[in-house]
């Protein structure tokens, strides 16, 4: 069974919600990034989203843009992101979703990325600028491998399309909480609740909510609305703002515990 499916099955059985953590691969450098990822997995993260840095991240806000630039400057690339995934897989069973813009995957070769991602132990791919209408070639390349192509739904997505997205979704459906790029803040809980209820009613797969989740309070408010929450910029920001020599894995782990506590406080039954 695919590790993402296994994770959601177990969580559902335990009546718990998933904490999905986004981190940019190679931020601030390969070795530190690996240490942060390992610690995150040991601190309550259920699914890792490993972001492949890209020169032109049009769906990302300033925090993840800056992380991409740091990682690229440190020599990160798609091939090295795969090596990082493989290194993480050596020590953890946490599902890994490769999070990328389409161009690096396309340029690398879709058959090649499918094969190398599978052997690195990747369980899903999420391509932010690849709507289902353009995803045929990648879906074909992934066919027959245990890698889900994760789909996204947005606040602007209308019911017919939500149904279409949900029908073809693999692993979980990524529900974008608000219009705009990635980043912290800007959440209107009531608005998110309304849209999440609609999406949940139309989607037979787990639904996770992401964009703008920064604190334990956000986690507390949003976790009950779906099957999990996704946190990115709030973690990445810790790396950007830490003083030189700081214990980055420790800082990230503390934030993850804050979010986990927020979620569990609202979701234990």
């Amino acid at each position: 069974m695919n590790r993402i499916d296994l994770t959601f099955t177990k969580l559902a059985a335990a009546n718990r919600k998933a904490l999905v953590a986004y981190l940019t691969a190679g931020d601030p450098d390969f070795d530190t990034s690996l240490a942060i990822l390992r610690t995150a997995c040991a601190s309550g993260v259920d699914v890792v989203e490993l972001g492949v840095p890209f020169s032109d991240p049009t769906c990302d806000g300033p925090v993840i843009q800056a992380a991409s630039e740091r990682a690229l400057r440190a020599g990160m690339s798609l091939s090295r992101s795969l090596r990082l995934a493989a290194a993480l897989r050596e020590t953890v069973e946490t599902p890994i979703v490769l999070f990328s813009y389409y161009n690096p995957l396309f340029k690398y070769g879709l058959a090649r990325i499918a094969e190398e991602a599978a052997s690195a132990g990747v369980d899903g791919m999420l391509v932010v600028d690849l709507p289902p209408e353009e995803a045929g070639p990648l879906a074909d390349a992934l066919a027959g491998r245990s890698i889900h192509l994760i789909r996204l739904a947005a606040p602007t997505t209308r019911p017919d399309r939500i149904r279409m997205l949900a029908d073809g979704a693999g692993g979980f459906l990524y529900l974008i909480s608000r219009t705009g790029v990635t980043g912290t803040g800007g959440l209107d809980y009531d608005e998110v609740a309304r849209h999440a209820a609609l999406v949940k009613s139309l989607c037979p797969h787990p639904v996770c909510i992401g964009f703008g989740i920064s604190h334990g309070n956000d986690a507390h408010a949003l976790a009950p609305l779906a099957d999990g929450i996704i946190v990115g910029s709030a973690l990445v920001r810790l790396i950007a703002e830490a003083p030189a020599g700081a214990d980055l894995p420790g800082l990230v782990a503390a934030k993850i515990r804050e979010l986990r506590d927020g979620m569990d406080a609202s979701c234990v039954s």
Binding site: L78, E133, G180
Partner: protein, 401 residues
Amino acid sequence: MNAPLIGNYPDATGHFGPYGGRYVGETLIAALTDLEAAWREAQDDPGFMSEFRAMLKHYAARPTPLDFAARLSDHIGGARIYLKREDCAHTGAHKINNVVGQGLLARRMGKRNVIAETGAGQHGVATATIAARLGMSCKVFMGAEDVRRQAPNVLRMRLLGAEVVPVTSGTSTLKDAMNEALRYWVAEVEHTFYIIGTVSGPHPYPAMVRDLQRVIGDEARRQMLEQVGRLPDLLVACVGGGSNAMGLFYPFLDDPCAMLGAEAAGEGLDTPHHAASISGGSPGALHGAMTYLLQNDEGQIHEAWSISAGLDYPGVGPEHALLHDLGRVQYQGVTDREAVEAFQLLCRFEGIIPALESSHALAAAIREAGKRPKTDAILVCLSGRGDKDLEHITAYMKANP
């Protein structure tokens, strides 16, 4: 060659063969399908199209002249060179055609805010112009580096009431301005119309901008037949994103005319300093479309380089990518030096100061004219005037005597 089919793109899903499409985040999909539907309805509405044509005539000063460059042609001693004088249009470049159309469409869709990206500032000025005319608020995203290089156009935009937003991410140039415009649009999509300045971006922009710019080729074709009594043997236009080139070429695709797109070769195609996405790039997806890009082996986008800020872009409109693959249009590089030489020739022989972008087309035309007999006719799109470039070109000539 199966010419009649070539102009039939894009297909129903917005693809030009393997190029084009809609490579954007899910949040923008609804806005793009709405835009596509609104544009289709507007095109079929005689009232809308006649307002568009009237505004082009009375506001943008169309038709622009077709002008025979007699002294330049004699100096070269080969094919006769005709200029489609887009420099005579309001705001001094072809960019106005597109913004009149998109501005009217924005109003029709009830959007009160327009945004645009700009490199040289020409599209930004054109968008600020139409926003003032139609009473809309306007934000123009511009790379911080370009804000510095193109100060006169920044001043123009501000005089016209637009807000210029300097972009400091990435390389602080046109591609980053487009990144930032897309980010802003995702957040404000409900009330904002994004006026893209060239035939790139997600569907329906490449086809819509082409259809708004085809007035260049429609006029020029009629003017050639009326004034010269024949069609040109060769069409030449510069290619940044490719809107003036698509506008000129499109109505001629079924005609027996050769076509040449001049890409900016900067310091040379054998150096890393150029902006020739087709001649020196490879296929990939950026800013919503599959097309040719300047990129490394792992799909990271390179910074483009050209003396001309309007050609300084690492991608190209997807229809050009297809026309290249089909062999219908030839794409050639023109270096900074060749463009500056052509710039000087046009100043001295014809009393016209061309834009540096347009000077790339002229240089390619001059090269071709020398190889062709005097009985041949070459039609060049003089896409804009060079007032904005005077400081730049003076500095270049001082540094490269």
